[in-house]
Assembly symmetry: C2
Homo-oligomer: 139 residues x 2
DNA sequence: GTTTCATGTAACTTATAATGTTACATGATC
DNA sequence: GATCATGTAACATTATAAGTTACATGAAAC
């Protein structure tokens, strides 16, 4: 979203500063997005990161998938294939519950396009400027 | 569930052995269950842990709540109250999605009583014994 | 009543994963 | 060819959960 708001490609350094992290961490994360075709990267002068397709055609789910679709849950099985019959029964029941919740979560993420978030962002920016006076938001 | 299957209170040491962990870790975890009134503990000879109420009246949610209701999600906001307007908008959208998923997950956990799991466990135990010949399952 | 057994808990160590950092290779633009 | 930017390996730091040691407290057995 920062990229789409900018008029030129943004460097990893600029992005890192905006989100209080490190250029290499940015590259690592963005690499997933690049491989998924969500963003582009260019080397050399005037290079950096830019969006590769319409924000309308990107959802939060696409971003999630692009970064590797890590398990969204902090709770999990202590053992994957336990010999303990109690543990088996509990694991299966929890797995069912998590699966249901995950399905719903993913469906929800698919409904949120980055374009929709960009609209909300613009509203927020307007309100912010009215309250505090003009403020350049280039990054 | 191990406790309800046993005919006497089980010590932290016995439980630790059954779940391949450490007696102190067992005590730490069980302390939450005790404070929530799900289990009892007794010191001294013949002491140990036992269930404090009918398995019918305990659900997976009760257990989850008893151990402190930690956030079930591995994904979260990078910053709780970010100044960045993009981050604000994304956080709120994700928070909404997580909240919905969490509500559904908790509702689901409330439908699973430990008694229901105990029934499944007994079935599994029967099948296990038919397949392998009698096997004492006291812990 | 004292010995034994069990929990309760503080303090510390270890394991693991995410994040941050340094260093340098590769490629594009000026 | 000098400069700028990504790509990536290797390493360091940090945070958190799990495991461990040590010892105090209380209950039962003898």
């Amino acid at each position: 979203m920062h990229l789409s708001a900018a008029s030129k490609p943004l460097t990893s350094e600029e992005l890192a500063k905006a989100m209080h992290t490190n250029p290499v961490v940015v590259r690592r994360t963005m690499a997933g997005l690049r491989e998924a075709g969500l963003v582009r990267s260019e080397k050399g002068h005037g290079g950096g990161w830019s969006v590769a397709r319409d924000l309308e055609a990107m959802t939060l789910y696409d971003v999630y998938a692009a970064i590797g679709a890590p398990t969204p849950f902090a709770l999990g099985n202590r053992t994957e294939s336990p010999g303990c019959l109690v543990e088996q029964v509990v694991n299966e029941s929890l797995d069912d519950a998590f699966k249901e919740a995950e399905t719903i979560l993913m469906a929800r993420l698919r409904t949120v396009s980055l374009a929709a978030l960009a609209v909300q962002f613009k509203h927020r920016l307007t309100a912010h400027n009215e309250h505090q006076g003009e403020c350049v938001y280039d990054v």
